[in-house]
């Protein structure tokens, strides 16, 4: 996270950074002697990231102060104290109180306009550590985050170019970064790797974005810093900061949505003392059945509860933070997506209105998921003049219960009931410069215990396992002229201890070890003022997941066999019965190498960011069709796991241009090309090309409303053209009936339906502050204004139902 803070401070600072970047010890001015202490910095506008002239700076409790110059810079000299509270103020901007101590250079101060709910923020010391100067990082703008904060994490992240979303209906959304998702994307929540049942495409990360401060994406292979799995990229969730010496403040928000008749309430409270700070926040959501333009989406309600508590102690050489959060979800899944055998699937796909569609209800019936995630973390930071040390312990409990439509009393029992405990301990030393090389050495250990809880009346889909990992890394960087060069290496050692049950309840066990080296090298170059080039080449890896090794059984209308659960006999038939080991079939780790480069322009009136990438992944794990089986329930296709090589490449573009004092246009586009180069085939479910245009009109005054923002948001998603062959359900059934082996000579992946057509969506929104009532603001948004019927290619329920229709969203927020 510190690393993250650093990149941010380098580029697009974020509110909470002030706290975490406390780590980056750097002396401001000199070691304090009698009254010669000096403090200086630059003040910026948080929204435009441009210098803000003539802001006032004052030392709290004194009359010592100054006013920034035209370029936003200020300095106060001849101070007798080196630790004090600073107050920054400017008309139309939120006042900021900041506790300064000599271990943190005060380089950039970002004042937030009053109409933003985001807080003003200070970014301290620009000591840059990590492999991330050269890595392309993109974050949501403050307004964009605020506007979409009530969405799921996956949907929210999809507002960043290059990120799309893998869905199972509206309630279950996972981020896809540059075409990769699940175990190939890492999620770092407040500095801790978010550990959950990431293997399932219908297992969304249990993180409530309404408690976060912002999110951003590292688009490169950041494995060296964050560990295995980051093949596609890293999604970073920044929790709210805890500011020392700040008055009691907070906010209360209420949101109502017409589609799903949903309501959401949230609060945040913060208070900072001289050495202590506290934070408490929570949110509550209830949503009923959603509606597509032409019909109700029965059983798509959800209910969510989340809470976060934090405290921070600030000493002169020592900071300590304790943080706890819990997210509790119950998510309904579209009833019409439940299918048994292939005939059922054909019926469900063919239904013009999803089966079992009923009137609106808040009830959540099967199929549904109940998921909880608890995170506790304790962070200690030591800092000296030219080095710092961080130690962090994290403890996570993830419980996941999935309820299917089942017979009899089993309907009350979860079909999947998993409990995952994760302990993580990590330490990082930011060493003093060695011959101008800045850098860090770190160690990360993880211990996980995954258990199936008894009482599901099903053979567990994945086995129990314990998993330990040790990673050690070095990251070094050096600045010369306008360039920053950096390199990093990492070694990981991981063990799995597996205990599972075969279909006949026989116990199987195995102990596995995986290890790997990763490396990164990169360059950041400032060509001229506001023009930056970054280029980074990084390797990443991940060991196979237990589900890829051991899964066995039915998943909706298909059977799936993990790499050690099937054999191919001499007659080329697939058999499954025996549980294999590494002696029967080796499963090498997935190893990727990703090159990502970007060109950024940051000017007064316009910003642009063009990113290109190429990602090659060896031993890419995927499923391919292997046959059709007929059992008592009817006919089912079955899929086996295999490995191939994958090549992905693409371009992201985002830009904004202020053409008039009150009008700004933004444009976003992302394009991905990918191929299974091992078999010369296409993959299923690649995000299609997407273009977005946003026009913002910001009249300052509007009757009793202040700081108005009116947005017109247009987007067009193309029909995906890189698709595998299509084999309809009827064709599979006919082949089975006529004893034709569809897959024996051609095991190319297939899709049951061709991709849905392209679609155009229009959203409008208006956000405002109320004059005369400081702190009160609100917004009105209409999503899918045209009530367009469409299906999203990366939504797994696209076979069964349209996406949601028009949605009117009203939100009120009061800040105090």
């Amino acid at each position: 996270m510190r690393l993250f803070a650093v990149i941010k401070s380098f580029r697009k600072p974020l509110p909470w950074i002030a706290i975490y970047s406390l780590l980056f010890a750097e002396v401001a001015g000199q070691v304090p002697k009698a009254c010669d202490y000096e403090i200086s910095g630059i003040i910026f506008d948080l929204t435009s990231k441009q210098p803000l002239p003539f802001a006032a700076v004052q030392i709290k409790g004194t009359n010592i102060g100054t006013v920034a110059d035209e370029a936003g810079t200020f300095s106060i000299k001849d101070l007798c104290e080196n630790e004090f509270d600073l107050i920054f103020s400017h008309v139309g901007f939120k006042k900021l109180t900041h506790h300064h101590d000599p271990h943190h250079a005060l380089s950039k101060v970002f004042l937030a306009p009053e109409n933003l709910t985001l807080e003003s923020v200070i970014v301290e010391g620009e000591v840059v550590v990590g492999d991330l100067h050269s890595n392309t990082v993109e974050e949501l703008s403050g307004r964009e985050f605020e506007k979409n904060q009530s969405e799921s994490l996956g949907d929210l992240a999809a507002n960043i170019s290059g990120v799309s979303v893998l869905k199972t209906g509206q309630n279950i959304a996972k981020p896809i970064i540059h075409g990769l998702h699940s175990n190939r994307v890492l999620i770092i929540n407040g500095g801790v790797r978010h550990e959950f049942q990431n293997w399932g495409t219908e297992h969304a990360p249990e993180i409530d974005p309404s408690l976060a401060e912002n999110i951003s994406v590292i688009k490169g292979a950041a494995t060296v810093r964050f560990g295995p799995d980051a093949l596609g990229g890293v999604l970073l969730i920044n929790p709210p900061k805890m500011e020392i010496a700040s008055p009691l403040h907070g906010e209360i928000g209420l949101i109502g949505k017409s589609n799903g008749r949903a309501g959401e309430g949230s609060f945040k409270l913060q208070k900072g003392y001289r050495k202590l700070a506290f934070l408490a926040s929570g949110s509550l959501t209830k949503q009923g059945d959603l509606k597509a333009p032409d019909y109700a989406l029965t059983n798509t309600g959800k209910s969510e509860k989340s809470i976060a508590l934090g405290t921070k102690f600030h000493g002169s050489h020592f900071d300590m933070t304790a943080f706890y959060s819990r997210f509790d979800q119950e998510l309904g899944i579209l009833r019409g997506s439940v299918t048994g055998n292939l005939n059922d699937l054909a019926t469900a796909i063919g239904a013009s209105i999803p089966e079992n569609t009923a009137d609106f209800s808040y009830d959540i019936n099967n199929p549904r998921q109940t998921v909880t995630h608890d995170l506790f973390k304790l962070t200690g930071e030591l800092h000296k003049e030219n080095q710092s040390f961080l130690i962090q312990y994290g403890f996570q409990i993830n419980q996941r219960r999935e309820f299917d439509v089942r017979r009899g009393t089993n309907n009350q029992l979860p079909a999947i009931d998993l409990e995952l405990f994760t302990h993580s301990l990590e330490a990082e030393w930011n060493h003093p410069a060695w011959n101008d090389w800045q850098g860090s050495i770190g160690i990360q250990t993880v211990y996980q215990d995954n258990n199936n809880l008894p009482g599901t009346n099903t053979i567990p889909f994945i086995p129990n396992y314990n998993n330990s990992r040790l990673g050690i890394y070095f990251i070094e960087s050096k600045v010369f002229n306008e360039n920053t060069i950096e390199w990093g290496v990492r070694y990981d050692y991981q063990t799995f201890s597996i205990r599972g049950r075969a279909a006949n309840n026989d116990l199987f066990t195995n102990d596995l070890t995986y290890q790997n080296f990763s490396a990164t090298i990169g360059l950041k170059k400032e060509i001229k003022d506001g023009h930056v080039i970054r280029t980074n080449l990084g390797s990443a890896w991940r060991p196979p997941n237990v589900s890829e090794i051991y899964s066995f059984g039915r998943h909706q209308s298909a059977f799936e066999y993990g790499l050690w659960r099937y054999e191919i006999n001499e007659a080329n038939d697939v058999t499954a019965g025996r549980v294999l080991t590494e002696e029967d079939r080796e499963i090498p780790s997935e190893v990727g190498i990703k090159w990502v480069s970007s060109y950024e322009i940051n000017q007064q009136k316009w910003q642009a960011d063009l990113t290109g990438y190429v990602n090659f992944i060896q031993n890419y794990l995927y499923t391919k069709p292997a046959g059709i089986t007929q059992n008592i329930r009817g006919a089912f296709p079955f899929f086996i796991y295999d490995q191939t090589n994958a090549l992905l490449a693409g371009i992201d573009f985002s830009s904004s241009f202020q053409h008039h004092e009150k009008f700004t246009s933004s444009f976003k586009a992302s394009l991905l090309w990918a191929k299974d180069v091992g078999n010369d085939e296409n993959f299923v479910g690649l995000p299609p090309i997407n273009l977005g245009y946003l026009l913002n009109y910001s009249p300052q005054n509007f009757g009793i409303f202040l700081n108005n923002h009116i947005d017109l948001d247009l987007s067009y998603t193309f029909e995906q053209f890189q698709v595998p062959r299509v084999i309809g359900v009827d064709e599979i059934l006919a082949a089975k009936e006529n004893d034709i082996s569809l897959f024996e000579n051609n095991d190319e992946v297939f899709d049951f339906l061709p991709p849905p057509g392209g679609y155009f969506l229009m959203d409008i929104s208006w956000s405002f502050k109320v004059k005369n009532i400081p702190g009160l603001g609100g917004s009105i948004q209409i999503h899918n204004l045209l009530n367009q019927s469409y299906r999203n290619y990366t939504d797994r329920l696209r076979y069964f139902a349209d996406d949601v229709g028009r949605n009117l969203i009203l939100s009120v927020k009061y800040q105090f």
Partner: protein, 197 residues
């Protein structure tokens, strides 16, 4: 070097964390009883005038494995005879009689039948899979007076042969007088060859 003292903490932690890794799992997953699995379907045709009952069955010993189910022989019925057919479902892995469960939950279950057109004298036609309203002789009813199909009547005519398909649908909250093959999920879907001699 004075600066290196944080490094000492780090090296200490590296040693400590080595001890942290490498625990093995001693939690064995529970033995689960997959009650919902049906491994065998048995049809018993009992002639109404007395005589030897004819049975036919289908088994799928590997459950969710890739092997096909085995239909144990064709069904051969006598011509010009009325039969009562009962269906028995068992889970041989657990030695469990699933039929009882269907009886307990008969308001959520219904059997549908499809057969070669005019294979029987009664019911005529080709069964109620294509059209719920088609003729079929159910002998049992659930609490809502809707047919279940664990017991049905069949009258054969002259010598004929064709196919005979049995489908069990689980229709929680959707079983009505008009709910059909498209409602709910399939729990059984097996086809036999049937000849009348």
């Amino acid at each position: 070097m004075k600066n290196s003292n944080y490094f000492r903490i780090l090296s200490g932690l590296i040693v400590l964390s080595l001890a942290f890794t490498g625990c093995s799992d001693d939690d064995e997953p529970p033995v689960e009883n997959p009650e919902e699995v049906i491994t065998t379907v048995t049809l018993t045709f009992t002639p109404s005038g007395g005589g030897t009952a004819i049975t036919a069955s289908a088994t799928d010993p590997d459950g969710e494995g890739p092997d096909d189910l085995e239909v144990d022989g064709d069904i051969t019925l006598d011509a010009n005879t009325t039969y009562t057919m009962t269906i028995e479902l068992t889970n041989d892995i657990e030695n469990e009689d699933v039929t009882e469960e269907i009886v307990r939950e008969d308001h959520e279950h219904m059997f549908f039948f499809a057969f070669t057109n005019d294979l029987f004298d009664s019911p005529t036609g080709n069964g109620n899979v294509d059209d719920r309203g088609d003729e079929l002789n159910y002998n049992d009813q659930d609490e809502n007076q809707l047919p279940v199909g664990l017991s049905t009547s069949w009258t054969t005519g002259d010598t004929k042969s064709g196919t005979f398909q049995v489908i069990l649908k689980h229709q929680p909250n959707v079983k009505t007088a008009t709910s059909d093959i498209d409602d709910g999920e399939s729990e059984v879907d097996v086809t036999w060859d049937l000849s009348i001699q």
